[in-house]
């Protein structure tokens, strides 16, 4: 049988019946055996009930996105089957709980390999452990597609070892029973088979939200305050465990206003500080983002975007906070917005966010999103020795003539950290003179606004994270931001393989826009396409306003990411 190099397995069922945990385990096990993995999950905002889905993509090469559709669907119940039946394509595999489960009858779908696995029945009757249904399914999946059973069992041992040998044994038995059922009853006719690979030493598997936390630690964060909010809470969960080990303090604030207030106070005190939130929290933070900008206090805010406005779609995917991040706050507030494309970026871009905040003394927002935050992905182990960390300019002298907001050539004024003798000053949200004393004169307000915006004049050179993928003869350039970048990279590959000539730009800096890079890119192509996941075409509109480019906006807003196929088709349509 031919080996696959790209396999997507989707597990669907009711929230609470182990869909998410079984997905986690199969991803862990595959990464352990040496495969690259990238996961994608959707689940209802409710804790129990409703449809939950966990999809894992396996490959021997680095994976760029969730992919297009899936190859294998494993359905725990009728609802999952109904949800996924239409998405099945020729040659796909359907594994379903039958007989004895919730699914009504035997499935015979033309062109689809349908494998009934009586997960409920085996777990209930054969094993007398009804809750091990998901492990029976995992055993069957492992057997069918050569996912390493050894790795799976090691993962089980790691996950359940603390609960005792008995729990581990129950899960082993369920895995074996699922595999045994396949060996005895199923005649494999599908083409999917993964070579488990060889274990790699330099790989970690981590979620996007955890990766942001790791990046913060690598940057030297020592204070963190946040309020729980889906889908950002895991950033706080990660740091709650780890930050105290470095002597840092983490607190759960009473709301997002307080969390950013805490962070501003901490950073004024000279300590690298951060908060994380999602759209509703970012809305609440606006006034204080402006204050941090006015006071020139470095702060980092990670916004893991979700569907909005209002409570919106708390567990669904959207990239719709760009306007708020770029243009929020009353008044003219200078700030920087960066957006990571994948899990690895979540680590390194968070470090960069701190570097930018420290260098320019202002708020830096990291726009992640729900599918990226929840995604677990394998990535190369970061080497802390190779991380470049920048610290703010400070004064150490006796304060002779110290002016906190001195007008300098760069626009950046060295800070006095409390404790520095003779440099005491009052940081204020009022417009202020170089000395920091309130001053409202026309000349002063003009000079200070010019200072606060002018200090960013070399940002694009300092942070040139705008990659160009140019193809000779291309008439079309495509620009995406955030996690859509990974999807676009794959779409470009597909479109080129299908004969399209297309180039792409991948900006990680999304505000202020990297205008030089954008204009240089835009000048090369007749048309520029901007796919993004929001209603208004937010990046397209910013580009329209700030550059020479007149982009074609391509938006979807259904709570799901693009598939590479979707963008590839759009590329071909625009080129027609």
């Amino acid at each position: 049988m031919a080996q696959s190099n790209d396999l997507i397995i989707r597990i669907g069922g009711e929230g609470g019946e182990g869909v998410i945990s079984s997905g986690d385990m199969i991803a862990q096990a595959a990464a352990r055996s040496g495969l690259e993995v990238l996961t994608f999950k959707t689940f209802p905002a409710e804790i129990r009930g409703g449809y939950a889905m966990y999809q894992t993509r396996f490959s021997h090469e680095p994976i760029l996105s969730e992919g297009t559709g899936f190859d294998v669907a494993c359905c725990f119940n009728q609802e999952a089957l109904d949800m996924n039946r239409k998405a099945l394509r020729q040659g796909n595999v359907l594994i379903y709980d039958f007989p004895g489960g919730d699914i009504a009858g035997e499935q015979n779908i033309p062109g689809i390999h349908c494998y009934p696995v009586p997960m409920t029945k085996i777990s209930k009757e054969e094993l007398a452990t009804p809750r091990s249904k998901n492990m029976v399914a995992l055993g069957a999946i492992a057997e069918l597609f050569s996912i390493s059973m050894t790795s799976l069992k090691e993962t089980v041992q790691e996950k359940f070892g603390k609960k005792g040998a008995e729990v581990v044994e129950v899960n082993y038995k369920a895995l074996d029973a699922g595999a045994q059922h396949v060996r005895t009853n199923i005649k494999k006719a599908d083409p999917y088979q993964m070579d488990p690979g060889t274990p790699k030493q330099d790989v970690i598997i981590i979620s996007g939200n955890e990766a942001v936390g790791l990046g913060a630690l690598l940057a030297g964060v020592r204070f963190f305050s946040a309020y729980p909010i889906t889908p950002a809470t895991e950033v706080a969960i990660f740091l709650a465990r780890h930050l105290p080990k470095f002597g840092g303090n983490l607190v759960q604030a009473e709301d997002e206003i307080a969390s950013l207030a805490n962070v501003i106070g901490a950073s004024y005190g000279g300590v690298k500080a951060m908060t994380s939130t999602s759209g509703p929290g970012l809305s609440l933070m606006q006034e204080l983002i402006g204050m941090a900008s006015m006071m020139e206090v470095p702060v980092v805010i990670c916004d893991v975007q979700r569907g909005g406005p209002s409570t919106g779609l708390p567990t669904k995917h959207e990239q719709s906070d760009l306007f708020l991040a770029a243009h929020g706050c009353h008044g003219d507030a200078s700030k920087v917005v960066v957006s990571p494309e994948g899990v690895e970026d979540c680590v390194y871009l968070t470090v960069e966010a701190f570097n930018i905040a420290e260098r320019y003394q202002l708020p830096v927002l990291i726009l992640s999103d729900g599918s990226l935050g929840f995604r677990t992905s394998s990535m190369r182990k970061p080497d802390p020795k190779k991380i470049r960390v920048e610290n703010r300019a400070t004064v150490s002298g006796n304060g002779e003539g110290f002016e906190r907001y001195a007008l300098t050539a760069s626009g950046v004024s060295p800070m006095a950290i409390p404790g520095t003798p003779g440099c005491a000053y009052i940081s204020t949200g009022l417009e202020h003179a170089p000395s920091s004393a309130p001053r409202y004169s026309a000349e002063n307000h003009t000079a200070m606004l010019d200072k606060r915006f002018g200090k960013l004049k070399d940002l694009e050179d300092y942070f040139p994270a705008t990659e160009v993928d140019h193809q000779e003869g291309a008439q079309l350039g495509v620009i995406a931001w955030g996690s859509t970048i990974g999807t676009l990279r794959e779409a470009v590959k597909i479109a080129r393989a299908e004969g399209a000539k297309v180039s792409a730009l991948y900006p990680k800096l999304v505000w202020p826009l990297p205008v030089k890079a954008l204009n240089a890119f835009g000048a090369k192509y007749k048309k520029v396409l901007v796919p993004e996941i929001n209603k208004q075409g937010q990046l397209a509109k910013l580009i329209q306003g700030e550059t020479e480019i007149r982009p074609i906006s391509y938006t979807i807003y259904g709570g799901l990411p693009f598939s590479p196929r979707q963008i590839a088709d759009k590329i071909k349509e625009v080129l027609k």
């Binding site: 080990k245 805490n262 962070v263 106070g265």
Partner: protein, 289 residues
């Protein structure tokens, strides 16, 4: 500046910025008495941060020589908490008014209180919004006529003392700006308290509050009896509720020692085996599949 041998004076802590308050404002009394308290405890100018919100009284930090932050309306406590939690070595004192503390910022008070956050909070209560020229505040009396309440204020006032006591404050006192000795003494005690210390100072606004004037308070101020046991919460609450009888109790209502937020965060770091040399590779390796 005085030499080390001379006792420090209020003026040693006074900045060159002249107060922006109206003539006759109660806040002058608070400032002078507080500067004296700073002198009494030999406050370290370079290692002190005064944090305020927005309002007349929130201009306070400008008039003192220390580090300071003049923040956003209602956010004095969480900003001050951030400074203190990141820099436990600093002394952090929060200042503000009744609107800043108990209206727009009222949602923060229960939390800094219940956490016993290591802060001193000095509130100047004039029962009016002065900076916006005379609107009802959260401590204004029911029925008060102001520009925004021309038919009389329909709301009942909050009781700042009872508010803090019921959420578990470990230090609650009230003073009156026209009794500077009491202000100085209570502020000093608050500065020396370990944990969250709240001093509510009645500080009349002669410009915009024509009801709660110095005259108005003359017969209402009552010093807390010397035999009051400040560790007795019930007794403290009873004193706080004297407001219902039209009385303004002045003195120390309540003071107990309890673990502070910094104590508890210290315990967390101990449990986490904190070390400045902690190797991040240990965490990274934990994510190997």
């Amino acid at each position: 500046m005085t030499t080390a041998t001379e006792p420090l004076k209020a003026k040693d802590f006074k900045s060159t910025v002249p107060p922006t308050w109206c003539p006759g404002c109660g806040d002058y009394g608070v400032l002078n008495a507080t500067l004296k308290a700073f002198a009494d405890i030999k406050l370290d100018i370079n290692n002190t941060v005064l944090v305020s919100g927005i309002g007349c009284s929130s201009r306070f930090p400008y008039f003192v020589k220390t580090y300071g932050m003049h923040t956003a309306h209602g956010r004095v406590l969480p900003v001050a908490a951030g400074v203190k939690l990141a820099r436990p070595d600093l002394r952090v004192v929060a200042f503000g008014g009744d609107g800043d503390g108990f209206s727009i910022g009222g949602g923060h008070v229960p939390h800094v209180v219940r956490k016993n956050t290591d802060l001193t909070y000095i509130l100047m209560d004039n029962s009016i919004y002065g900076l916006t020229k005379g609107q009802a505040s959260p401590t204004s009396q029911t029925g008060m006529v102001t520009v925004t309440t021309p038919y009389g204020l329909p709301d009942n006032p909050v009781n700042p003392l009872a508010y803090c006591l019921t959420y578990g404050a470990t230090f609650v006192a009230q003073a009156y700006s026209s009794k500077p000795k009491i202000v100085e003494d209570l502020v000093k005690q608050a500065l020396n308290h370990k944990g969250f210390a709240f001093v509510n100072i009645i500080s009349p606004c002669p410009t915009f509050n024509k009801i709660n004037t110095f005259d108005f308070y003359k017969d209402m101020i009552e010093e807390i009896p010397a035999d009051h046991d400040p560790t007795n919460l019930q007794a403290a609450l009873a004193i706080a509720l004297r407001a219902k009888q039209g009385k303004v109790p002045v003195g120390l209502l309540y003071k107990v020692e309890q673990p502070t937020l910094l104590d508890r965060l210290g315990e967390i770091r101990k449990k986490a085996k904190a070390s400045p040399d902690y190797d991040i590779n240990v965490i990274i390796d934990d994510y190997r599949p």
